[in-house]
Symmetry: C2
Subunit: 221 residues, 2 copies
Amino acid sequence: MGNRKRIVEMCLDLMNEEGSRAVGTSRIADELGISPGNLYYHFKNREEIVMVIYEDLDADFRAALVEDVHAPISPERFAGFFLRTLQVAWEYRFFFGGMLHLLRRDEELAARYAGLQAWAIDTIEGILTQLIKDRSLTRPKAKTGLRSMAINLWIVWSNWIRFIQVSDPSGEVRRDHLIQGVGQLLDILAPYLDPSFEKAGRRVLTRELKKFAEEAADPAS
Amino acid sequence: MGNRKRIVEMCLDLMNEEGSRAVGTSRIADELGISPGNLYYHFKNREEIVMVIYEDLDADFRAALVEDVHAPISPERFAGFFLRTLQVAWEYRFFFGGMLHLLRRDEELAARYAGLQAWAIDTIEGILTQLIKDRSLTRPKAKTGLRSMAINLWIVWSNWIRFIQVSDPSGEVRRDHLIQGVGQLLDILAPYLDPSFEKAGRRVLTRELKKFAEEAADPAS
DNA sequence: GTCTATACATAGATAGAC
DNA sequence: GTCTATCTATGTATAGAC
């Protein structure tokens, strides 16, 4: 694998582990056993590395939210949206952790992320609208209810990992925390969901939790 | 006013404006027209300044959430909890913006904030329980529903300001954004709220919005 | 309490050899 | 494509005079 790619991956790993601020260009180079000069041959500056990573995040998130959206939306697929996107939030957790600072220092990144956020909220609203058509969701009374719901889902989604990290500073985030996050998102919608749809969605979580517990007990597989 | 206090206030202002990371000790001293040495006479290090500010935040938040909690809880008081606490989140927005980084570099701060978070979620759950006793809120079906609701309220609360900041990178956060945030929090509870209780709560927001619009139109007052 | 001067570490970035 | 060497800027913090 070329050094360019190795730099990006090391940067992502280190930043996820220690936060974006703690990771500088010299640190990345050190860790890879290459020279700072080499790193700067591949990238104009530190921002550029982060931007490359952000592009992956952006693409992964959009793919996770758009994948398999054909109507009607099954509870399994609906739970899948949440689970896949939370997985993305986990894989790029450094970004959400240090977001404000990263965006402040890079206007282009700020604009792009604002765009992703706007798109995400619209798309979530679209999914909710589809659920209403499918009769899996009751329309909220207030006109702005759907949008408000989409915003709340987005906020909880984009901050769930941080919430877990802060709750237990010395603990690590595990897959069951992600599954718990999906439950948390479902709870926002619960009062509007068709009971059997909700039940089926929750079953997916129970199944995932079981799978995780088994893997944890038997790491061989 | 003594320099110690001026340092704390300047630090808070600068960090709120530019993010905690962008503000160093030399910058604070510069801005106040005092020497770095003077700053270090008053504080052991930068962490200590942040800790002093955090202590205010902690106290202000607790006071805002506990103030005037006698049962039964009126819709006006309930809306007041949200409005006052969001005001606190706004006054110390630097902390929420750079939280993960701040907590990573200061174990004591991390422990204290984790404590505040746990207390807050418990206290919110307590308020919801009181609302159920008052018959202003319907108990959610799931056993863990109340707690989940409290967590969602907390997550949206603690990240609302950041959400607004990121939504419009070049815009400023105004009081009407805070009021919108209260609406957002109410929406999480809406399906469980007694309709007349909810209506009265919303009226508080309309009134606050009107007050803000008038003040904006007539800054003299 | 406050100042000047300075030490020290680290991070971002570049020049030029190989 | 990669290296060594180095520059520059900045931030944290201290020593010692006033």
